[in-house]
């Protein structure tokens, strides 16, 4: 019995050592970093801008070489139609090359067998919309046209160049790009789940403004009111959020706040009124105690009692309290404007 116990203890130690070695191999598998992001502060819609990043990969795990594609991604406003308007090239000490759009049918390896997400969907799940606030951005993912043989315990240094025709929708867009880099054999498998993980190639760019003749879309600065989804039509379910913390004048009193639509406009030129009320249908609900964020979800087609022939184009609105105090655009009395559009 004593001998048996001794063997058990030795076995446990051996297994613990093995586990630590295996853990160590995984933890030190790769260090991927994106740095020295070069991007313009401003640009004009319709022009082509170049963004470059420097990238380094330190491979540090024993085993055979892996043959894989380099994978890079950039977070862009949906209105840029980044998939159609972006080309990517790279240079590195393993060779230079072009990149192609990652097919949406390719499963990102860390989700294989579980959620089976595409690269873009997996990046949305892991990195969200970066340092932006309005969910009107998308991850545009590319892979190297040629596969590369990646050896062990080497350092790959390179540059990635994104050439983007910005502002395809013609709007003025303010946003903060973000970047991801990995390889196709492992995908995002080594991402720790911590956005500030310095060992995994996720990084964010500075604020960028693309000026266009259309609407102003500020995707990264806190707004008094915001919409989810950011772009919607009358048959979408539209969630409006009012950020009371940004009401510097403290115009609204109490916790009963309401959506007051002064006028809704339809494509046939009609102006719909009578939708400014303080009722249960228009009352916003605080997301949690003291969050200062109030939300209301409406189905515009039903809310405005539209006929099947009517198409909603925009609405002018305020947020009001139980006493009728009103907050509008930039904390003024002018109404907020929301346009019903997919572009």
């Amino acid at each position: 019995m004593r001998s048996y116990l001794n063997i058990r203890l030795k076995g446990r130690k051996i297994w613990m050592c093995c586990a630590l070695v295996i853990l160590g191999v995984f933890l030190t598998c790769c260090v991927l970093q994106i740095y020295d992001i070069q991007q313009p502060v401003t640009a004009t819609a319709g022009t082509t801008v170049t963004i470059s990043t420097r990238d380094s990969v330190q491979t540090n795990v024993s085993g055979n070489n892996i043959v894989a594609n380099f994978v890079v991604a950039i977070l862009l406003p949906k209105g840029f139609a980044g998939s159609a308007n972006t080309t990517v090239t790279y240079t590195c000490n393993l060779g230079n090359g072009n990149m192609e759009l990652m097919p949406s049918t390719v499963i990102e390896p860390s989700t294989q067998g579980t959620t089976n997400l595409s690269y873009a969907a997996s990046m949305t799940a892991k990195f969200g919309i970066g340092n932006n606030l309005v969910n009107d951005l998308e991850w545009v993912v590319f892979r190297s046209v040629n596969q590369v043989s990646i050896g062990n315990e080497i350092t790959i240094l390179g540059n990635v160049y994104f050439s983007i025709k910005v502002g395809a929708d013609g709007n003025t867009t303010i946003f903060k790009p973000a970047y991801v880099m990995c390889e196709s054999a492992d995908g995002l498998s080594y991402y720790s789940g911590n956005l500030s993980d310095a060992n995994f190639a996720y990084n964010t760019g500075a604020r960028m403004t693309v000026n266009g003749p259309g609407d102003i879309l500020d995707l990264c600065d806190p707004q008094l009111t915001s919409f989810n989804p950011a772009k919607a039509l009358q048959n979408d379910l539209l969630t409006i959020t009012y950020n009371e913390g940004l009401d510097s004048l403290k115009t609204l009193k109490g916790s009963k706040l309401y959506l007051c639509v002064d006028t809704a406009y339809t494509s046939d030129g009609k102006k719909l009124t009578g939708f400014c009320s303080q009722t249960a249908q228009t009352q916003l609900t605080e997301t949690s105690s003291s969050s200062n964020l109030y939300t209301l979800t409406i189905w515009p087609a039903s809310f405005f009692k539209l006929s099947s022939a009517q198409t909603l184009t925009s609405m002018a609105y305020h947020i009001i309290d139980a006493n009728g105090n009103r907050v509008g655009l930039n904390d003024s009395s002018a109404p907020f404007i929301y346009k019903y559009s997919c572009d």
Binding site: K78, P229, K231, A232, N235, D236, Q281, S302
Partner: protein, 151 residues
């Protein structure tokens, strides 16, 4: 002694023949896949918009997921207490394959344009779940409703 062995061998051969004769080929017919019968009333048990759970967001008095229902019967469907959905009018429906459907098509009354969407019909926790994915507004806004049969 030799006759004894001959006798034994003959008996063994007879036994072997009897054993072989007792075997017969059994033809096993594969079980036919059942046709996917949607007949009944279906209610929403889960709803998402671009991956966000919609159920906590809606006002139960004005946008009511628990009241919404769709009834499938004899090739027709009827929607009650409408919500943003793949169709807005009642009509007929069809599956691309009754046994292995991948697509469900709705033909709204008064419309000449059928609307199709991917059809998934898994068993979750022992219950059939019908999941429909669609975009009632902007194409980039993806809604997913999961429905369970209530009768």
């Amino acid at each position: 002694m030799r006759d004894f062995y001959k006798f034994k061998v003959v008996h063994l051969l007879l036994l072997l023949l009897l054993g072989l004769a007792s075997c017969k080929t059994e033809n096993i017919k594969p079980v036919a896949e059942s046709t996917k019968d949607l007949t009944g009333t279906w209610k929403i048990v889960k709803a998402t918009r671009n991956g966000t759970d919609l159920l906590p967001l809606v006002d139960s008095n004005y946008i009511n997921f628990s009241k919404f229902s769709i009834v499938f019967k004899s090739g027709s469907y009827t929607v009650a207490n409408p919500l943003p959905f793949i169709v807005t009018q009642n009509g007929t429906y069809s599956l691309d394959n009754p046994q292995f459907p991948f697509t469900i098509t709705f033909n709204q009354t008064g419309s000449t344009t059928p609307v199709s969407t991917a059809f998934t019909y898994p068993i979750v926790d022992g219950v059939r779940v019908l999941t429909l994915v669609f975009s009632p507004g902007c194409a980039q806004n993806i809604y997913s409703y999961s429905l369970e049969k209530v009768n």
